[in-house]
Symmetry: C2
Subunit: 235 residues, 2 copies
């Protein structure tokens, strides 16, 4: 891993546990509003809408749209499908911004702090800048720099996003290590010349979910947590 | 100051003391290389080349060029004018990157830490992203987010830069407070609807320099340091 200067991180699922947070906030909302909703299913359905919504932008069906807005478009459909009523516009916006309040996995903050001692650490997420900045502040994620697909006006896995990270950090692609729990993200980063670290997040899709195992491709590193990653990088 | 959500900072001169750092590193280089150079004059001349170089980009004479590259173009001329010889390419690049290693003013880090407790704090500088990220790491500047003119491909005081900050932070212009030691920067921010805080840096151009006093226009706030600014904002 000689020559690595910066680590760029996928965020949803890799750094933060979107599913547990949405379920917890949903249950709280359900109690307040007297709603009977399967919040695990709600969370999974919301997340399942993410790739198709981004693909509408990636294929040109929609103009560039920040993720906050795509999340809201999906949410508006979900509120109908799950028969969730009695929500004011403020309630809906607050719920939509649950993506700004996602809890980190237990090792994320400590692991990032360690990795930051040796490397530039930055997000490289499809989340828009405001979402990522607010999340970092909420969860104490100590990024050196917030980089978003929004800056390239392309969503991962488009090559433009990975290339942009190298340009903005003024590094060669091979000086960047892309860290993600998703094999497709790492494969796309590898295509552009970044090095790759798979971090397993077996609970991303819940106890019965099918998270990537990191066995579908070869990666430069595989780790079980950010602390494990720091140890593999000898920090 | 109700409704302020984020503080965006000019960096060179406002957060960091470019002049003292360049003089100190220059003297060290002079000792190593046996050079007889007036490093204060060298620093002032380098900085004096900054606005004209940016204006070549702003007027379309040059295509978009990151500040690191403009600094290098100016430096190459200075090395001739100051009869500085015996510099390898690595030496020149290292000297050019003194702008990545600028020391903060004595109140900057503590003041930013306090301001960060209440607000999003971000750079809004003509420095390129890599320069600002490296400087933050070098000096421990605790930014929530690094924003650069590079992201707008315009230099301040072009309106595009200030507008971009509001868009990327998903805030209204009036929810941003631009903090700078330079009146022209604040006037341009005000034109776009940002609120403005002048922080006096009387030594920016040295003991005999003519730093802005903050009296040429009205600003929403004026302060003598970032700690004073935090107190005015009641943090």
């Amino acid at each position: 891993m000689d020559g690595i200067r910066a680590l760029v991180f996928d965020v949803f699922g890799t750094v933060v546990d979107w599913r547990s947070t949405i379920i917890r906030e949903g249950r709280e909302l359900g109690r307040q509003k007297g709603l009977d909703v399967d919040w695990a299913k709600f969370a999974d359905t919301w997340r399942a809408g993410y790739a198709p919504a981004m693909n509408r932008v990636r294929t040109g069906q929609l103009p560039w749209t920040p993720l906050d807005r795509l999340h809201r478009m999906i949410l508006d459909g979900l509120l109908e499908d799950f028969h969730i009523t009695g929500m004011s516009e403020d309630d809906k916006e607050h719920l939509n911004r649950v993506w700004h309040r996602l809890d980190p996995w237990p090792d994320s903050v400590e692991g990032l702090r360690r990795l930051k001692n040796r490397f530039v650490i930055a997000t490289l997420s499809n989340g828009n800048m405001a979402l990522l900045v607010n999340m970092a502040k909420y969860s104490g994620l100590p990024w050196d720099c917030v980089l978003s697909a929004e800056l390239a006006r392309h969503f991962k896995p488009d090559a433009e996003v990975y290339r942009m990270a190298a340009v903005l950090l003024d590094l060669l692609p091979e000086q960047l290590l892309m860290v993600a729990a998703h094999e497709s993200d790492l494969r796309a980063a590898h295509e552009v010349g970044l090095r790759t670290a798979f971090v397993a997040r077996p609970l991303e899709y819940g106890p019965n979910g099918t998270a990537d195992k990191g066995t579908g491709s070869r990666f430069d590193l595989t780790a079980t947590s950010f602390i494990d990653l720091a140890e593999e990088l000898e920090i």
